[in-house]
């Protein structure tokens, strides 16, 4: 499959391309170079880092689970139903993709905060307060990351041959059975890829989290928040934490490439 390489990339293309690579890779290389390897062990085992790491993993995983439960059915509706206004719905769903996360945090606060539209009712009727809790972290991350899952699963559903669903119907399967026993297994690779993407996005979430959930160690201080805070007090700790996030990102990428992205849908 390797294409014969044309000799000589034109200079006006080559120079910017090399600059672009340098621009993207150098900061990461710098991060690795500046890592105080001797301190790596003690830093990683410090209770503060462990706490932030654990909170990050738990909340990103919870956000991914929530996104799966809500996002896969939404993707099905977008891909399969013939309801009117689907394009409007799709546009609305993708807004969080392009919205600055801080704005998302503000919006969540206005709705779910103690004085918010829904938050006031939750506070009074159920005595539930969401802002500045771990729940708020999960909600903020879900808000930002779920669209990645929805878009990815919708794409997989569109690419999947809908005639398999016709075949299932002629075999006595109603739409729910068809979804469970035919559609879901067919698009499983797409769902897995979407979930990984969603999880990675949730793990790196900063803006919406700090706005809506705050920055309390142990309850809402996730890794990105810890990095930001550490940079002002203990730069070495910030570097170590960043390295961990970089490693997770690279691992995610490798996982996507090897396990799902290159596996063609039959």
């Amino acid at each position: 499959m390797r294409r014969r390489s044309e000799p000589g990339v034109p200079l006006p293309l080559l120079v910017p391309a090399v600059l672009a690579v340098a621009f993207l890779v150098l900061p990461l290389a710098g991060l690795v170079l500046r890592t105080p390897w001797a301190e790596l062990g003690p830093q990683l085992t410090s209770p503060a880092v462990g706490q932030a790491l654990r909170l990050s993993l738990v909340s990103a995983t919870a956000a991914t689970a929530l996104s799966l439960v809500l996002g896969v059915p939404l993707a099905w509706v977008l891909a399969r139903s013939r309801a009117r206004g689907r394009s409007v719905l799709r546009a609305l769903v993708t807004v969080p993709l392009v919205l600055p996360p801080v704005v998302g945090g503000v919006a969540l606060f206005l709705v779910l905060g103690r004085q918010g539209l829904v938050g006031r009712w939750l506070d009074q009727a159920l005595d539930v307060t969401i802002p500045f809790t771990t729940t708020a972290v999960v909600i903020a991350e879900t808000f930002v990351a779920m669209p990645f899952l929805v878009i990815s699963v919708e794409g997989a559903l569109r690419a999947a041959d809908a005639r398999f669903e016709d075949a299932a119907a002629t075999l006595g399967a109603d739409r729910w059975t068809t979804f469970r026993r035919v559609t879901l297994p067919l698009v499983a690779p797409g769902i897995a890829a979407g979930a990984v993407l969603c999880w990675a996005r949730a793990l790196g979430e900063f803006g919406a989290t700090i706005t809506f959930a705050g920055n309390f160690p142990g309850t809402t201080q996730t890794m990105p928040l810890a990095v930001y805070l550490a940079l002002q007090q203990d730069p070495d700790a910030a570097i170590v934490l960043s390295l961990v996030l970089l490693a997770v990102s690279v691992a995610t990428l490798l996982l996507l490439r090897d396990r799902w992205l290159t596996r063609a849908v039959r």
């Binding site: 041959d161 005639r163 398999f164 016709d166 075949a167 299932a168 119907a169 002629t170 075999l171 006595g172 399967a173 109603d174 059975t177 026993r181 035919v182 297994p185 067919l186 499983a188 039959r266």
Partner: protein
């Protein structure tokens, strides 16, 4: 359990309007070119597409009745369907594919699997039950698809171009097997195909559909011997010439005359089989009463012979041996003489 359907479906520029009746144990072939509405018809019968008007009934059950507002969803219809490219679920084993319909209709897993294995044995692929469909050959996959359609003992069997994805050799075998299974199937069968050989080999009755309407219906033998449209004539390899009978001569609408053995009167069709047309480099002497000058338009290999398309006063198809083709020195544009015996010309009322 006979099928009675009378439906109308509007598909943009094409309106499909068809009446069908298929008795128990009968196989009806719906023959027609691509885009004639054959697959639309099957989708309506299967309940995958709502008709715009009409009724579909199988036995005592009404599946569609548009005026009365009745519509049974696809999954509640007792039918089996075989698709052109089999559509076996890629994530399930062959056995589980065949068992799928029994499971959705409430049969327990062990019972469904046992019934599936029985059917795999009946279609001759008992040993392949544990494989994924991706690891089956085309013929094996189509056998599995047939087993999957029949295992639920449907009242109606729908076959959508079941052989067209197979290579020529496999096709022959699978067609023979399919014929046997259709013979044993007690319900009604509707077979959609654009291959006249499938229709002739498998069906008890043929309807020819063009542009959403039935243009001809009859037994396979009748349709192949007496085509009524150019499409059918071309399919069965006949030259079809409309004309007016005047005793033992037919005056063709396109000009020219054809001598026939039987007397004919009024509007008729004349059909000439390509193998009964002889070609000559010069006007032949002797008995044939039908001799026309013609010009070769195209020639294509056709089995052991060469099929020549001729233009002239009377447009014809002629099959000649490769040797004769070379001897005549035929090339597009070559003038030749074509002759046909009057007794080799079929004539029937329009």
């Amino acid at each position: 359990m006979s099928l009675a359907a009378s439906v109308r479906v509007d598909r943009g520029p094409l309106t499909v309007e068809l009446d069908l009746e298929v008795a128990d144990g009968e196989v009806l072939a719906v023959l027609g070119p691509n885009g004639a509405g054959k697959s639309t018809l099957l989708r309506v019968l299967a309940g995958l597409l709502p008709p715009d008007d009409g009724r579909v009934a199988v036995g005592a059950e009404t599946w569609d009745d548009v005026p009365a507002g009745v519509r049974v969803p696809a999954h509640e219809r007792r039918l089996g369907m075989v698709f052109q490219d089999h559509l076996l679920f890629p994530h399930l084993s062959v056995t589980d594919n065949v068992a799928f319909g029994l499971r959705t209709r409430g049969r327990g897993k062990p019972a469904a699997r046992a019934a599936a294995r029985d059917w795999l044995a009946r279609v001759g692929i008992a040993e392949l039950g544990d494989r994924r469909p991706g690891r089956l050959s085309g013929g094996q996959a189509q056998r599995a698809a047939l087993a999957r359609a029949l295992v639920g003992e449907p009242a109606l069997l729908l076959l959508d171009e079941p052989l067209s994805a197979l290579d020529a050799r496999t096709r022959l075998t699978v067609r023979a097997e399919l014929r046997r299974h259709l013979g044993e199937f007690p319900g009604s069968t509707v077979l959609v195909t654009h291959d006249p050989v499938d229709a002739m080999a498998l069906a008890d009755r043929v309807v020819v559909v063009e542009a959403g309407r039935v243009v001809q219906a009859g037994t396979p033998a009748d349709v192949s011997r007496h085509p009524r449209t150019d499409y059918v004539a071309r399919l069965v390899g006949l030259a079809l010439l409309p004309g007016t009978g005047e005793g033992t001569t037919v005056r063709l609408d396109g000009g020219g005359r054809v001598a026939v053995a039987e007397e004919a009167a009024g509007p008729v069709f004349v059909a000439v089989r390509p193998e009964s047309v002889a070609l000559w480099p010069a006007r032949p002497e002797g008995s044939p009463r039908n001799v026309w000058p013609a010009r070769l338009v195209s020639a294509t290999p056709h089995g052991s012979t060469v099929r020549c398309e001729l233009d002239g006063e009377v447009p014809l198809l002629a099959d000649v041996t490769a040797a004769a083709f070379a001897e005549l020195g035929l090339a597009p544009g070559t003038p030749v003489w074509a002759s046909v015996k009057a007794s080799d010309v079929a004539v029937y009322a329009r």
